[in-house]
Symmetry: C2
């Protein structure tokens, strides 16, 4: 019983299951595939340190002062330019708002769009951080199942069709989704965009992993096909480092206006010192070369995990083969429960995230998420052998 009269919106709040799980899995002899961490050995520590020294020496008083809500203009322009040059999007710096990681982008979008009871369409399974951010604005969640190449189009049409009130938002991670590792195919992107265009929904396209593709060709954004009916979220967490909490929202002018006002009330502006150090780092170094190194490393780690699963995992188990990103998704045979497997796996000193929390409407008990970005090849080999052993034991006992 609380002694305080908290707001209604907090009544259903749960701490992130994943963040709680991470505490269990931090013991050093546990091989953890549970987190969603980028590999810190790839962080550009020296270059970042040089950038920090440079901006503080040149403009120390300036970079430690208050600044504008929208963010450092050259950093916003750099992001816009990458969209123009690499994605063919007609974007200028005025459409970029710098946020505290893309998680804050989700919170601000929830704040300006969601009234209690509004319908928000999620992928099934869906990114937990989005569920958490949006849930505080009390929407009614609906879901569209993900198939191997993107959303189930029939179900998508049902949710967006004429007979039904459009959801306010559709939240999508079309590249190497968290948790499933699934990417939308070129055809599905076009089909999904067609359905969305006919609806009243605003699409929130979250793309933290898009630059981390190791296989296949780059595919167009939904935002490019949807124009004013979409906002794009991006992040420096996976291509530079997450500890500086810098991401962005790219949005049409009318949406940007509300976002900036909401951001003023939320925290005035994002960390200006970090924005300036990041911009200096990006100016003095070749980001694309750095991203190629991350891709090569994660690609090798992904290959090792897939190969070890093929070698050691019982044939009743299936898994996704992601073309990029940081995650791989396992489905156990129907009689097994991933929570039970979790307990057994911890005894074997290996950890993962059970899939159920990613399903807002129940289900997913046979699924689990494996992270491959934050383990070296040796730990991936040992970890998958341990996990396979735990699965075999569970199968034998079931």
């Amino acid at each position: 019983m609380d002694d305080y009269s908290f707001a209604m919106r907090t009544q259903g709040l749960k701490r992130s299951f994943i963040r709680e799980i991470l505490k269990v899995t931090e013991e050093p002899d546990v091989i953890s595939f549970a987190g969603g961490l980028p590999n810190p050995t790839l962080f550009p520590v020296k270059e970042f340190s040089a950038a920090a020294a440079r901006v503080l020496a040149a403009e120390g008083e300036r970079v430690l002062q208050y600044s504008t809500t929208e963010g450092f203009p050259p950093l916003r322009e750099l992001i816009a330019k990458r969209y123009r040059e690499r994605k063919g999007l007609q974007v200028d710096a005025s459409q970029i708002l710098i946020t505290n990681g893309s998680q804050q982008g989700l919170d601000l979008l929830g704040k300006i769009f969601i009234d209690p009871g509004d319908s928000v369409l999620l992928e099934r399974p869906a990114y937990l951080g989005a569920i958490q951010a949006f849930a505080l604005y009390e929407p009614e969640f609906r879901t569209v199942p993900l198939e191997e190449d993107g959303p189930d189009l029939d179900r998508m049409e049902e949710e967006l069709g004429d007979g039904k009130k459009s959801p306010k938002l559709f939240y999508a991670v079309p590249n190497f989704q968290n948790p499933s590792g699934i990417s939308y195919s070129r055809e599905k992107r076009a089909a999904v965009a067609r359905l969305l265009k006919g609806s009243g929904a605003v699409t929130v396209e979250d793309d933290p992993y898009g630059e981390l593709r190791f296989i296949g060709e780059e595919l167009p954004t939904l935002a490019g096909m949807l124009g004013e009916r979409a906002v794009l979220l991006g992040s420096f967490s996976k291509i530079v480092a997450p500890g500086i909490r810098l991401g962005w929202i790219c949005a049409p002018a009318q949406v940007m206006e509300r976002l900036v006002t909401a951001k003023q009330g939320s925290d005035l502006h994002s960390n200006y010192f970090s924005q300036r150090v990041l911009y200096q780092y990006l100016s003095d170094n070749d980001l694309d070369a750095h991203i190629r190194r991350i891709r090569a490393a994660y690609g090798a780690q992904r290959d090792a995990m897939v190969k070890m699963l093929e070698l050691h995992c019982p044939p009743e188990v299936s898994w996704t083969r992601p073309e990029g990103g940081m995650f791989l998704w396992l489905t156990l045979p129907g009689r097994l429960d991933a929570m039970e497997l979790f307990d057994r796996a911890i005894k074997e000193r290996v950890a993962f995230v059970p899939g159920a929390p990613f399903y807002v409407d129940g289900g997913g008990s046979t699924t689990l998420r494996l992270n491959f970005s934050n383990s070296d090849l040796a730990r991936i080999e040992t970890g998958i052998i341990r996990l396979s052993k735990a699965i075999k034991e569970l199968l034998a006992g079931a």
Copy 2:
């Protein structure tokens, strides 16, 4: 007419009037008393740079990685220890949540406490950032007028008395308030705490300026008298630097639990790199000596502003004589309007913030806020002469 269906809570949103005004006043020949900026010549740039180099050299991979929602434990303990040793508060590190400046503290408190229509009691005038943060959660604002030594106790009793439903929150800045510069006297603190204890209100005590006292003795916190019925907000923006966006909430365990969950959804955690650099800076340097330097500088600037007003300002005008902080509050004779004065002052190349936006329930048209922290003595002298000239002109024309 919007093309988007935004949430109800955004309908009344206005961009901060102050942040808009600042754009007008940034021309270099304008002497601006409008902002609320600390003086950047006092930022510990070299020491901060050394701290950044040290943490990146020693633990670069660690400090650029994701971290915990609550914040860096030694930084939390340092804050708790200062409360214990300097304020006599029984606080431990588990009660400290690191936020993106204290502005985010206000947003998170709004998020967990305010349902639409809930009553929130503000000072009159009130800090604009709090009005903005809380307004997004659609409360009904009520106000208690500030007298020279704190709230009007009769009105406070009316608002908190038995006959009436208690407000959910009482928001107070008892030390050197923004915008008025007013501090609660020792007697008023005790009386206000007595009234609050008898009510159901939770007190949000915001203390960003408390360490910047140049005159008089340090006074007890409301939180110390209210125990579990209060939360305290603090900030490094005024005692170190605001560009790193680091502040904190100090709250009882039950409130902390909700705040941490809300913060997870809002942005996962505060900038970890900056937390580590700040902690290193605080470990390697004498913060109290640094604060003494700030106090001495601001005290001299405050004295200069008061002296120049006494010398040049018409006797019909009155002003506060703040014992600390960054602001001084002017009241014009009743027939003059501060917005009109603003236009005339800009022609004289001096700027301030008109007081009306600080009054949620109207009024305040004869008041204005002057910032003395971010101008050197020469600019204060010239600026007050210009402002006095504009006031005299307006008086002559009225």
